[in-house]
């Protein structure tokens, strides 16, 4: 038996495999395909204080080994989540992490305060890295002082596990990670999507209504791995790594680079069973390599 349990600042996940916000709905969309109880956690669709319609169509463009999206945080607001969605999904034996967003610090605080009162929700992901809308807070995530300011404010409002989701659209992600660690973050998750763009040469028009959007999928995996490694070497808090994870092997690579847990994102669109498969593949890897505790993989990169 392999011990797959990991620990995010005191919050125990039964295994390191979670699903990324915006790629897994509220989990219930996947019940025909997988057993949600097998997952370490689910990061549900991004929430804002008020409901949002998101950006105009088209919001998606397929790109080599990945895709661009510009959804723009379409959601019905945090109250709707707490009153109508969470009661439907709380019975699953997995950690549910809301992903919170705002355009001003007070909005983040308001959302965090509401979620702080919800029994059964033991952690939130503070999104300061959505590239598609002002309310997604990338403005906060790309400068160290503002990342620190929003993290400090939400830290005061939220007593449980606080994971800050970092933007890769920065010069030095390790510096930002250190900043939010100092501001009270329990953990950092990275990376959100990379700002990108696609053009139709025939029509000379952009493929997204917003012109630019967030790139995800295997195309960004080498960048994401590098950033996880840099952050791992800069902070002491646990890292939730993501960026183009398509299978168990990719997940192992993220753990070797320093991730305590991982998020499966865009891969869910191609194989709705992939998250559960990755749990099994990590276990198989451990068995094949004589590893009794999955935590032994964290930062296990051999560099000499």
């Amino acid at each position: 038996m392999v011990d797959l349990q990991v620990d995010i600042a005191g919050l125990k996940l039964k295994n390191p495999v979670t699903t990324a916000s915006g790629t897994f709905g509220f989990g219930e969309e996947f019940v025909d395909f997988i057993d949600l109880d097998k997952l370490g956690g689910i990061f549900v669709k991004g929430l804002t204080i008020k409901s949002r319609e998101g950006n105009d169509y088209p919001r998606m463009a397929e790109t080599p080994s990945g895709m661009l999206n510009a959804v723009g945080l379409q959601n019905k607001g945090v109250d709707y989540f707490i009153d109508s969605i969470y009661p439907r999904i709380k019975h699953w034996d997995t950690e549910i992490f809301p992903n919170i967003n705002g355009s001003v610090i007070d909005d983040y605080i308001a959302v965090a305060e509401k979620l702080n009162e919800v029994k059964g929700i033991n952690g939130i992901e503070l999104n300061i890295s959505c590239p598609n809308v002002k309310e997604g807070g990338m403005a906060f995530g790309v400068s160290c002082p503002s990342a620190i300011a929003v993290t400090k404010a939400v830290r005061k409002a939220y007593d449980k596990t606080l994971i800050v989701k970092l933007s890769p659209n920065v010069t030095d992600i390790a510096e930002i990670a250190k900043g939010v660690e100092g501001a009270g973050a329990d953990s950092v998750s990275l990376v959100n999507t990379l700002l990108g763009m696609a053009i139709d040469a025939k029509t000379k028009k952009p493929l997204l209504s917003t012109i630019t959007g967030g790139l995800s999928g295997p195309a960004i995996k080498p960048i994401a791995l590098r950033m996880v490694w840099q952050v791992y070497n800069a902070v002491k808090i646990p890292i939730v790594g993501m960026g183009g994870i398509m299978n168990g092997n990719d997940a192992i690579e993220f753990m070797l680079a320093g991730s305590t847990a991982i998020q499966v994102g865009t891969a869910n669109f191609i194989d709705p069973q992939v998250s559960e498969k990755i749990v099994d593949e990590i276990e198989q890897y451990c068995i094949s390599n004589g590893i009794s505790k999955v935590t032994d993989l964290i930062g296990g990169l051999i560099t000499e």
Binding site: T23, F30, R59, M60, E62, P272
Partner: protein, 254 residues
Amino acid sequence: MKRIQDFSVIDTLWLNSSSYILILKSETSIEKIDPGNFAEIKIPDAADIFLRRPISVYDVDHEKKEISFYIKAIGKGTSKLGSLLPGSKVNIVYPLGNSYTPVKNKNALIVGGGSGIAPFKLLGEQLRGLGSKVTYLFGARTSEEIVLTDVFSKLGKFNCTTEDGSLGEKGLVTSHSIFKNIKYFDIVYTCGPDPMMKAIAKIAENNNIRCEASLENMMACGIGVCLCCVTPTIRGNAVVCSEGPVFQSTDLKW
């Protein structure tokens, strides 16, 4: 219940230079499929095609464990699917989306264009089974693009338009003479290019006839989680893959 399932290619029946029917067979039973449902098809052996392709179901045979798709080869993915040899493995996620509302003992007009004729074999069969009378009207550029007339003629009265006049009435589908007697119909079902569907919906709405349109927005997940395929409606942005693809035309703000 939605399922992810492996199939083998039985055949790709090319109907003209650009469209074909892909017939897939499974070892196991096939889920119940309603007219308008679609599948997300993984393009096999195509490293350069990242996402699945949403394709409307054309036909299903539960006894033979076969499912088939009417596909127009318009991009890399749909061209690749048409080149698959018998025996090739294809993985699909299905049945996805909602379906057309069936009506009993009514007169139904079904208007299709392009790949939008795909759901109308199953719909025609269902409506006939409920005692409704089916009239088809399909539009194309030339007679070469009017396909499967034998199949549809068995299910209802078949009409078509071609832009060059090579088959049926000459002109766009919206100018067909059948619309002079539009009040004969109780419901209009449509699928095809947006401008065509909008024009059809307008005619139906002007005559207080219910119209249901199936949208073909670009999709990533197909199961309502990525929220990429939205369309504006009177209730805000609706997710086409899970709240649609079939919408009552009066709900759409297109």
